[in-house]
Amino acid sequence: MSELKSGSNLEKVLKAGHFAFTGECGPPKGANVEHLKEKIAPLKGMVDAVNVTDNQTAVVRMSSWAASTIMCQEGVEPNFQMVCRDRNRLAIQSDILGVYAMGIRNMLCLSGDHQRFGNHPQSKNVYDIDSMQLIALVKQMRDEGTFMNGEAIDVPPRLFIGAASNPFADPFEFRVYRLAKKIEAGADFIQTQCIYNMEKFRQFIKRAVDMGLHEKCYILAGVTPMKSVGMATYMAKQVPGMDVPDSLIQRLRGAGKGKVAEEGIQFALEQIEEFKDMEGVAGVHLMAIEWEHRVPEIAERAGVLPRPVV
């Protein structure tokens, strides 16, 4: 990690050894630019970069590249997400060139939720390449300056390459190896799935540290504050690969009427505090789902402000 690979703000923050803090923003279900700008505004200065989701949960929204460019114009650094579900290798490579040309410098490579979950379950899925191959492809385009077929690229895209890791999906024993494989394929940073089961995450990160993975890649711990008991039970039962312990649901229930959201934030703050000192964790990825306006308060209370200027 000697020279800058992309020159993105996120890369510079991490390279300088700061505890990174990233946010997330889902594009609108429409071309409502004003609405998007309203969601972006509270994130400015509060986080180092903001993930722009790509048809998340397989629901059609404004394209992640377009929303990312709007975010750039608004003075917030995007972390452009791309899933393998909706594009073949031609579209993937042309979109990578496109986003780089528009000034985007971070990219998160994902498989994508199956279309079964979304609002067009009848659609064909592409999966021409998988997320691992996507990571390797972005690295090849950046470091070798070639397309997947080996042809030279006229001005290669220099992107900071992100990948996701879900420590809570099965088979648990394999998860750290899959993380290692993503790092080997070219991931510069990792953002984990939302963490609620802290004990299991401690085990996971310890194995990653034992394997030296944290020295090859920056690992950002995923945090999503629970807004309600309903959200917690939904996540526990309905969202694939999510591990929400009963103890947390009980804790939220015990908070009493009107105080659940505050209890959810309190839990998130406790998590962030622990992550700050946890070996192997280089930052936090805050996914405040449809709660962008609460991010300044959470960032303030988490003691991560002001964000470093590097």
Partner: protein
Amino acid sequence: MIVADRKPLKEILEMLKGYNRILVVGCKGCVSVCNVGGSKEVGILASILKIAGKKNGLNLKVDEKTLERQCDPEYVDLLKDMVDDYDVILSMACGVGPQFLSERYPESRCLPAVNTTFFGGAVQHGVWSERCAGCGTCVIHFFDGMCPIARCSKSLLNGPCGGSADGKCEISKDVDCIWDMIVRKKMEQGRLDDLLKFMPAKDWTTARDGGPRKSVREELVQ
């Protein structure tokens, strides 16, 4: 084998509207084995059609014939003295059948009575499960005899996605996560290293993506 399901009766009746002389043609190949289009099922469908006709005040002529296979011209040829007696030929073979019939008998109307679903096998009596996607370049030797192309909902080649839970796929608890099975078998047999290798992007030219396919065996071509 090629697995199929019979089309809903309503759809078949809709297709047959206006035809009074119907020849139901079965196939003794795959569709017989998966109990959808053999002589027994041909008999059942023919009876149902006659009853449905009577209900509608029609005296339908419905006859039955089951060929050795519908994917070989020599067997399809056996219908040549019969087809002119019918308004329509209803094939109970996989999607190959009605096409071979149409090609051989261009003057006849040939309709499909089944939906062809996948390449698979019987996992228990009455239950068939997909095993192969016919991608044209088999990779199951890398995965201990299990195919993630056909059996992973995302056709992933580099391990299970984040939606794998309790051995099941994220799309449904009725779908096994093939990656869970692959990982467990490799672990049990001490060959996990196999899965740590990067599997490069697949060449799909041999799959349907490369266009309609043809297999030519020069030594057999006359």
